[in-house]
Amino acid sequence: MSAETVQTVIDNLGALLLFTMILIVAAGQIYRAIYAVAAQSFLIAVAGGVLATATGNVDLWVIAGITLTVKAIVLPWVLHWVVRRMNVRREIEPVIPDAATLALAVVVVVLSFHLSASLGPVRQAITGNALPVGISLTLSGVLVMATRKTALTQMVGLFASENGIFFTAMAVTQGMPLIIEIGVILDVILAALVMAIMVLRVRSTVDADIADLEELRG
């Protein structure tokens, strides 16, 4: 593949990633958010694969593989399982209206593109517009966490944010060292497991949502 082709592919993948992010922000049902974040992780894995072929970096293949299995399949499945166990359809509970969140997300994306314009030297020919996309994914992920009350949706936001960091790393340095990537992935798995256990345990023992823990403050 030539450099231009790779750049076009990465740019297009970036556009798709932003689209999945909008789906996550706007999702009215927890299932949709989970499917969207799975799709996003899949796209990240594809981007990793494309970069691996373009640069011949074997580590990127490994990372792409791990991303595909863990983030696109296992973690969404765990989230899905928890939602099924809890037997609730609507688990979003936004703090501010969805429309306002979407408007904020737009601001975030614009801000990211504006910011990355000043980071010219960092941008590389091969990855094109990946940097602003990565930043906006990260920030939007945090935005999702900040505007949702329930633990599950906050988890989705964390995954999205994680994806953003991943994509930024690919854009800037063409992937972090393998050991760090694996460490980060393990962290995310751990966070998901802790969240799942907490949510289920709290619900099964005291019949309260994890968001109700705020009542405990002194």
Binding site: L111, H114, S118, L139, V142, A146, Q154
Partner: protein, 696 residues
């Protein structure tokens, strides 16, 4: 002593303490056995330490022993290095440790007879760790060994502090000790790491080399950071609050070690930092160093004894006297820092000042150790700490009373005992130093001398109170009435220290030889015996004083002989009296039956001084009278207390500030996770906006 002997001596010390730890761990099925064996090995280690230190001290000027240690860390080479200063402090540790190890088993068995074997074994293990760590702090040849042993010393003494009883008081004292000690260690870490990072290694030699090229500000900042760390450990006012709580909480022979020796390890650190590691290659030390130490020392000396005067808990009273004596030592250290490498006779005076400080170090270790052991004997026999509930013990515990009196005379700086010698030397150097400065500086030193004189007087008053109320009069409670003399091994432990007190008091000139190596080695000038002993070792004199001042001289030996002669004369004269006819008659007590309560109490004894220093003590008293009819008082209840100003003015304010701040934070926190994430998000965006848009 050859290099090889000394090196094997160091190994022997380590082996003894390690054997003490292991054997008491193995013997934990029998508390008695663990106590005996553990203390025996501690004694062996202390004797070995005495041997090594005497070997190095008498081994000639500049004799330094270096001993590499196995490489435990890839980044630091560990080593031991014993020069004159280290050996001197090793001597101080060993002397008190010998007495404590002889005293310990009987004390622990008598004080807490029903303690579990595991607890006794733990105490002995901690004691061995404590002694070993103190020895190797002083013998450390690199920052890593120093810090590791320093921390070991703190942790093991913490274990000993909380091990004695299981009541909450000890646990709280231990916690306060732990927090303060770790604050101090943190400061030391900063000081050491700042040096090691520049030097690229941990050896003291490397640190010395890099410190020689430091600029003035960095050097001074590093010194003050280290001074803060050491002052916390030494219990310098206002960093002393842990000391009067933690020291009495430990078993008494450990209190003796903590007060007599552990505080001195901090003094060792100060000297090592001030005169050796951080000292500039040439020229005098920055004047701020010495003056700060002098002011801290003077404050601690006066305030320490003033607070001790109003306390009636025997171990706590002794602990406050440690604050006082650390102050006296620091006066000497501060003067040595001020005068070191100044032109003319200043250098000589600096040597005298350091000699006074070091001599007071060993003297205080001896008499404070003796006093704590004496207090421990009283405690183990009566289980009472408050001296108001004692009285009349002199008849029941004659040996303990006599030895305690000896320690009290020594700490009150009365001739012919050792406390007098070092305080007299401190006076000489204060007066000599004052003549070298004009204006406010000279006045400040004279003021310090006046404060030192006040301290001596107040200490005498305090021990008149402590001894009189504890041992004289009639017993006020059944505890005191049924007390019996302590077992022989405890008496022997006290006698060891008493011998040191008398020896250093009567023949201090001979002790000066031991001080030659540390003073000459540290100050690169004349040794102690060259400047302090005139006309042979029998007459002490701060010789080589500045022109125009007549150096005073004093012979402790002659003074002791005179005292003995006078006592004999008085005894002979009073013999005539004793043949006179005696008539026994009841004391007239206004028609009431006399009870032990009629005796002078400690509170009453200290009352005049409480009134004089009311501004400092802020005394609070509460008198409740129960009346049966007008004018007929059935019972009076009196409660009084004084405050520690640094505690109320500094610590309580900080405490209030912290709790107010945390309450404010708690009131403002919502507890909503998404809220916190929102803050994070906002902060992130703002930061990106502020700093992200760079010069693109």
């Amino acid at each position: 002593m050859s290099d090889l002997d000394a090196a094997s001596g160091l190994k022997l010390i380590a082996v003894c303490y390690a054997a003490g730890i292991l054997s008491s761990l193995l013997a934990r099925w029998s508390g008695r056995l663990a106590l005996r064996v553990g203390h025996l090995f501690a004694l062996a280690g202390a004797v070995a330490g005495l041997g090594v230190s005497l070997g190095v001290l008498l081994g000639g000027p500049g004799f330094t022993l270096n001993q590499p240690l196995p490489a435990l860390f890839p980044f630091a080479r560990l080593s031991l290095s014993v020069d004159g200063l280290s050996a001197y402090f090793l001597l101080v540790i060993s002397v008190v440790a010998i007495a404590a190890a002889i005293y310990g088993p009987a004390y622990l068995a008598a004080h807490a007879p029903d303690a579990s074997a595991a607890r006794q074994a733990a105490q002995v293990v901690a004691l061995n760790v404590f002694l070993g760590c103190m020895v190797f702090v002083c013998a450390a040849g690199d920052a890593m060994t120093f810090l590791l042993c320093w921390e070991g010393m703190t942790l093991s003494s913490y274990v000993l502090v909380v091990s004695d009883d299981r009541d909450g008081e000890n646990a709280r004292a231990g916690l306060l000790y732990m927090v303060m000690a770790h604050g101090g260690t943190a400061l030391l870490l900063v000081a050491f790491l700042a040096l090691t990072e520049r030097a690229g290694g941990f050896d003291f030699a490397a640190l010395r080399a890099v410190a020689a090229n430091l600029d003035g500000t960095t050097r001074t900042v590093l010194f003050f950071v280290a001074l803060g760390g050491f002052a916390t450990k030494a219990g310098v006012i206002p960093l002393h609050v842990w000391l009067p709580r933690a020291h009495p909480a430990a078993p008494s022979h450990v209190s003796a070690l903590m007060s007599g020796v552990m505080l001195k390890v901090a003094i060792y650190g100060m000297l090592r930092f001030g005169f050796d590691l951080l000292a500039p290659a040439t020229g005098a030390l920055p004047s701020s160093w010495g003056w700060t130490v002098l002011i801290l020392g003077t404050t601690s000396a006066v305030l320490g004894v003033l607070y001790a005067l109003q306390l009636h808990d025997l171990p706590r009273l002794l602990a406050f006297h440690s604050v006082e004596n650390i102050g006296i030592i620091l006066i000497g250290v501060g003067l040595a820092m001020i005068l070191w490498r100044t032109e003319g006779a200043g250098g000589v005076l600096a040597t005298v000042a350091l000699t006074a400080a070091l001599l007071h170090t060993v003297n205080h270790a001896a008499f404070k150790g003796l006093l704590f052991l004496g207090a421990g004997s009283v405690l183990s026999r009566t289980h009472v700490r408050n001296i108001e509930e004692l009285g009349g013990l002199a008849r029941r515990m004659p040996w303990t009373a006599g030895l305690f009196l000896l320690g009290a005379v020594a700490i009150s700086a009365l001739p012919p005992l050792n406390g007098f010698v070092s305080e007299w030397l401190t006076f000489q150097v204060l007066l000599g130093g004052a003549m070298r400065f004009h204006g406010p500086a000279g006045l400040g030193i004279v003021f310090s001398a006046a404060m030192l004189a006040l301290t001596g007087g107040l200490a005498a008053a305090c021990f008149a109170k402590a001894f009189g109320v504890t041992f004289l009069g009639r017993p006020r409670t059944p505890h005191a009435e049924h007390a019996t003399e302590a077992p022989t091994s405890m008496i022997v432990g006290m006698v060891c220290l008493a011998v040191v007190c008398v020896g250093l008091g009567v023949a201090p000139g001979y002790a000066m030889r031991l001080l030659d190596a540390p003073t000459a080695g540290l100050l690169h000038g004349p040794g102690a015996s060259a400047v302090v002993t005139a006309r042979g070792p029998l007459v002490l004199s701060a010789s080589m004083m500045p022109e125009g001042t007549s150096a005073t001289a004093i012979s402790m030996t002659v003074m002791a002989a005179l005292l003995v002669a006078l006592a004999a004369l008085a005894w002979v004269l009073r013999r005539e009296d004793r043949h006179a006819e005696r008539r026994a008659a009841p004391t007239w007590t206004c028609g009431m039956t006399p009870t032990p309560r009629f005796d002078y109490t400690a509170t009453a004894f200290a009352k005049p001084l409480r009134l004089v220093f009311a501004a400092l003590y802020r005394p609070r008293r509460e008198v409740v009278r129960e009346m049966t009819a007008p004018y007929a008082v059935r019972r009076i209840r009196y409660a009084g207390e004084i405050v520690d100003l640094s505690e109320t003015q500094i610590y309580h304010r900080v405490e209030r500030g912290i709790s107010e701040l945390s309450r404010a934070i708690r009131d403002r926190s919502t507890g909503r996770i998404y809220g916190y994430i929102g803050f994070l998000f906002g902060a992130l965006v703002v930061t990106l906006l502020l700093f992200g848009v760079g010069p693109g």
